[in-house]
């Protein structure tokens, strides 16, 4: 499928989803749907670095938080419309991603993963001690209930996140089908051999960390407006880090489809469990599924389906 055709399909699907929810008319679905979409963006973003180049990022929460807190910062200093905030959050988180990319110069494999965790804690400590942004107590954002053209504010946020999800998926698919994705795969397989074959590995890794970080930041930017309240403990929560790893791993890391499937399944499961039981039980499912899948089905759902289809043919 050509990229333009694919883009058209994405937009049509997104429009249908929005129309269906609107027709159904239950406000809660927009609330829950927003979270699912947010995780589609996070999982897809994580996979651009983790799945395509093989560099595991444990610090997804930090990028999400950079987006969220850049919105808080501008909310306090110079209020801007959310789409602009999304772009700004993406720029800041992208810069942090670029910095993380330079870590790959010295750190491979497990050391890089631990380094990203360290990065997240350092950022969290800075934010916790930054009183202007609310410090450890957090910050409130007052948002209007309604907005022109769309109506209820939550629907507006949902629509924005829907747009972001479409963009993230198109970016991921675009990378996969381009020379860039080819280069990423060589880095994942063998970095030394990639260099020897002429692949500028550092440049490609920097591109991957920047795009991945920027998308995560963009997912975080509208978050203060969604919740109305942001606290370091919430946005730096381990839940974000675990989910953004678990969703691609469970869905399958080799293509854009995997994170999408993983995010829809796991995020919906968590929403359901949160309502039915408790949010802890929801994330427990994710943790257990992550362990079970990496042990028993290392290629994820996509791998299982492929294996099953091959078995049938």
């Amino acid at each position: 499928m050509k990229s333009s055709t694919f883009a058209l399909v994405c937009v049509v699907v997104a429009a249908l989803v929005f129309a269906a929810l609107r027709w159904y008319g239950n406000e809660y679905l927009f609330f829950a749907g927003y979270v699912v979409l947010q995780f589609i963006v996070l999982a897809t973003a994580w996979n651009i670095l983790g799945g395509y180049t093989g560099y595991v990022n444990f610090g997804s929460a930090a990028f999400f938080a950079v987006g969220a807190y850049s919105s808080i910062f501008f909310h306090k200093t110079f209020p801007l419309p959310i789409p602009v905030l999304i772009v700004i959050g993406g720029v800041f988180a992208g810069l942090v991603g670029l910095g993380m990319g330079y870590l790959t110069l010295r750190l491979r494999g497990a050391f890089f993963a631990i380094g990203t965790l360290a990065l997240a804690v350092v950022l969290q400590t800075i934010i916790t001690n930054w009183t202007y942004l609310g410090g450890s107590r957090g910050a409130y954002v007052i948002r209007p209930d309604e907005i022109a053209l769309v109506g209820p504010y939550v629907q507006y946020l949902f629509l924005l996140m829907l747009g972001l999800a479409v963009i993230a998926i198109m970016v991921a698919r675009g990378i996969e089908h381009s020379q860039l994705g080819y280069g990423f795969a060589t880095i994942r397989d063998d970095e030394l051999a990639a260099e020897a074959s002429g692949v500028p590995t550092l440049k490609l890794k920097l591109i991957a960390t920047t795009i991945s970080g920027a998308l995560m930041g963009m997912a975080g930017a509208p978050f203060p407006y969604y919740l109305g309240y942001v606290q370091p403990g919430t946005v730096f929560g381990l839940e974000y880090a675990v989910n953004s790893i678990a969703m691609p791993m469970i869905g399958g890391t080799t293509s854009w489809v995997g994170p999408l499937i993983g995010a829809i399944l796991l995020a919906s499961l968590q929403q359901w469990a949160t309502v039915k039981f408790s949010s802890e039980l929801g994330v427990l499912f994710v943790g257990v599924l992550l362990v079970v899948f990496v042990v028993l089905a290392p290629k994820g759902i996509v791998g299982l389906v492929e294996g099953w289809r091959r078995g049938k043919v």
Partner: protein
């Protein structure tokens, strides 16, 4: 220049040393699993918290001293470690090369342990009772809380015992050998997998003791473990991978650094110290300060 009180500095130093010895107990397990076996067990702090809670239960129900309780738990943790290694070996090490999924496996374990503890015990802080929690010895201007001194001594004993085990016994030397030369081990008719399983089980067994020490030093809730991820890996890398004396020195350095940070800048900055040190060491000297 600002006049910093002399006794404040001395006390910060002493507190740092006591804390450092405890950090060594928390880290020795990782020095074995990560440093020697090359298994990136980021779930290690999760097992430590598990150790804290078990010490808490035994202390609360049976009134046993937490350290005695932890010694009783050693076989349980040893068995748990052997089990985890078996799953890890079958799923990742045997299949080879897929380090990415191995990492995700341990990350998942860490998370599952934490959430299960939250579901069972809630997020309230738990603590233990023992005669040495509370009183302090005062030697001149130096304040020695027994709550820190006892864990410090137990930690030193643990590190020393492991060092003797690794350097003087046959199995210990085989474990050290695993890192260098698997072939030589096979020639000695020792199965590398079995040696590694033993070593990993020992590394998890240390979590029973480290967990008890932790809950003596401070009240514990399930997410406390996260703070220790940075600490253990910072110390491990700082001390040069796989060296227990190096681990002890690295732990002391971090303990002192954190103690001074809390004293002069406030405790809220302390968690970042470990990770900051880790980032700096990783970036500028990946082989550690005393490393190979």
């Amino acid at each position: 220049m600002v006049d910093i009180p002399y006794d404040l500095i001395v006390n910060a130093l002493v507190a740092g040393l006591l804390l450092g010895a405890f950090y060594a107990a928390v880290t020795v397990g990782v020095s074995i699993s990560f440093g020697i076996l090359d298994i990136v067990n980021i779930a290690h702090p999760g097992f430590i918290i598990l150790g804290s809670y078990l010490a808490y239960i035994i202390n609360a129900r049976l009134g046993l001293d937490p350290i005695v309780a932890s010694l009783l738990m050693l076989p349980v943790f040893y068995a748990l470690g052997a089990l985890v290694y078996q799953v890890y070996y079958q799923s990742f090490e045997k299949r080879g090369q897929d380090a990415l999924r191995g990492l995700a496996f341990f990350f998942g374990l860490l998370f599952v342990t934490e959430i299960v503890l939250v579901l069972v015990f809630g997020v309230d802080y738990r603590y233990v009772h023992a005669s040495y929690i509370g009183p302090s010895w005062n030697i001149g201007i130096v304040d020695l809380p027994l709550r820190m001194l006892v864990p410090c001594l137990v930690a030193l004993a643990l590190v020393a015992a492991l060092q003797v085990f690794l350097t003087k016994t046959f199995i210990g030397r085989a474990i050290m050998g695993v890192a260098q030369d698997q072939l030589a081990l096979q020639l000695m008719a020792a199965s590398p997998t079995r040696i590694k399983r033993t070593a990993f089980a020992i590394s998890i067994a240390t979590c029973a003791i480290a967990g008890a020490l932790l809950i003596i030093i401070q009240p514990v809730e399930p997410s406390v473990g996260r703070e220790y991820i940075g600490r253990v890996f910072a110390i491990c890398v700082l001390g040069g991978l796989g060296s227990l004396p190096g681990t002890l020195i690295g732990a002391m350095m971090l303990g002192i650094l954190e103690s001074f940070t809390s004293t002069f800048y406030g405790p809220s900055w302390a968690p970042a110290v470990a990770f900051g040190v880790l980032l700096l060491v990783l970036a500028f000297r990946p082989s550690g300060l005393f490393g190979r």
